[in-house]
Amino acid sequence: METALRIAGMALATFFTRYAMIAMVGREPSALFRRWLRYVPAALLAALIAPAALTSPGEVSIHARWAAMGVGALLAWRTRQVLPSLAGGLVTFWVLSIL
């Protein structure tokens, strides 16, 4: 019962955070809001990426992670696609962690 209550509470809290802004923006946003929104995806994605790239969990070589993210960033910049940066980064990490 306690477990069901906890899970239900977590589900409600999560839905609230996902729905609140989507529900509130009910009309054409103002010019200032639109100017701000232009920067939100870049800021959010960078904020999701950066800590994972620079912190090393456990005994994994931090240099292999940096190299993987560096190669990934280069490929992302040149191709602007997901698969090249994902594949290039992972292969770089595997090669360096085997060596």
């Binding site: 809290a13 996902r18 802004m21 929104l37 870049a42 959010l44 994605l45 904020a47 790239a53 994994v60």
Partner: protein
């Protein structure tokens, strides 16, 4: 810009495209789903409770954090922590909301329900590239949702100790894939500067803040910084 005039409901083809766009991310989702399932069993949840949590909460970092405090904290603390960790979704919601204006009202709760970091990233990139629609967004949501609860259940049923994903670089799947998506938003020096500042703030923030607060704080401050840059540029031109 007239965002609402571009709001598209989309077709089944768009739904399929959104679903396919999440495929590169699925290995990362599955690895963490398995890990979540194993960890849930260790704190005493049954496989069905483990599965149910993923089905109705569907928020990886919040679920891991909840498991970490499962034995020591009360229900209120766990729910509040979940709320705090997911506050970053407010920013994501604000960012997609204008693309949904003019669509039938029922789309909004439906799309909000399964919006994850991953499906947001894929969908907002599609909107940026002009191929986005509600159906595409739904497809991306469903793609991640097909993988997360199922892999959690499998992990709970296996229950064995898994090797650390970081050893095989598997925790780099999301940051590497997000790099490819990020580039769609680097349009000029201002957006590039905003991304760099957000990254630096998030690194500093992740050291001093708990949970996922650093994503919200860095995302909010850096994006507001973009407006500041525009103002500085305007003043500079006026001189």
């Amino acid at each position: 810009m007239g965002l609402s005039k571009q709001a598209r409901q989309g077709t089944f083809t768009d739904f399929r495209r959104g679903l396919i766009a999440t495929v590169p991310l699925i290995p990362g989702v599955v690895v963490f789903g398995l890990l979540y399932g194993v960890m849930a069993r260790q704190v005493g949840l049954s496989p069905w409770e483990t599965w149910a949590m993923s089905l109705v909460v569907h928020a990886g970092s919040a679920q891991f954090t909840a498991l970490g405090m499962w034995a020591s904290a009360g229900t209120g603390a766990i729910v509040l922590t979940t709320l705090a960790i997911n506050l970053r979704h407010l920013l994501m919601g604000a960012s997609v909301a204008p693309h949904l204006l003019g669509l039938p009202q029922r789309w909004r709760p439906l799309l909000a329900l399964w919006m994850s970091d991953e499906s947001y990233a894929v969908s907002i990139t599609a909107y940026r590239q002009g191929i986005g629609s509600a159906a595409y967004f739904l497809g991306a949501n469903v793609g991640i949702y097909l993988a997360w609860p199922a892999s959690g259940l499998v992990g709970a049923l296996l229950g064995t100790v898994l090797p650390d994903p970081a050893r095989y670089g598997l925790d780099l799947v999301f940051p590497l894939a997000f790099l490819g998506l990020l580039m769609a938003f680097i349009e000029d020096r201002k957006t590039a500067a905003v991304a760099v500042v957000a990254g630096l703030l998030a690194i500093v923030g992740s050291r001093i803040l708990s949970g996922q607060w650093h994503v919200l704080v860095a995302g909010l401050l850096a994006s507001l910084g973009g407006i500041l840059l525009e103002e500085v540029e305007r003043m500079w031109r006026r001189r």
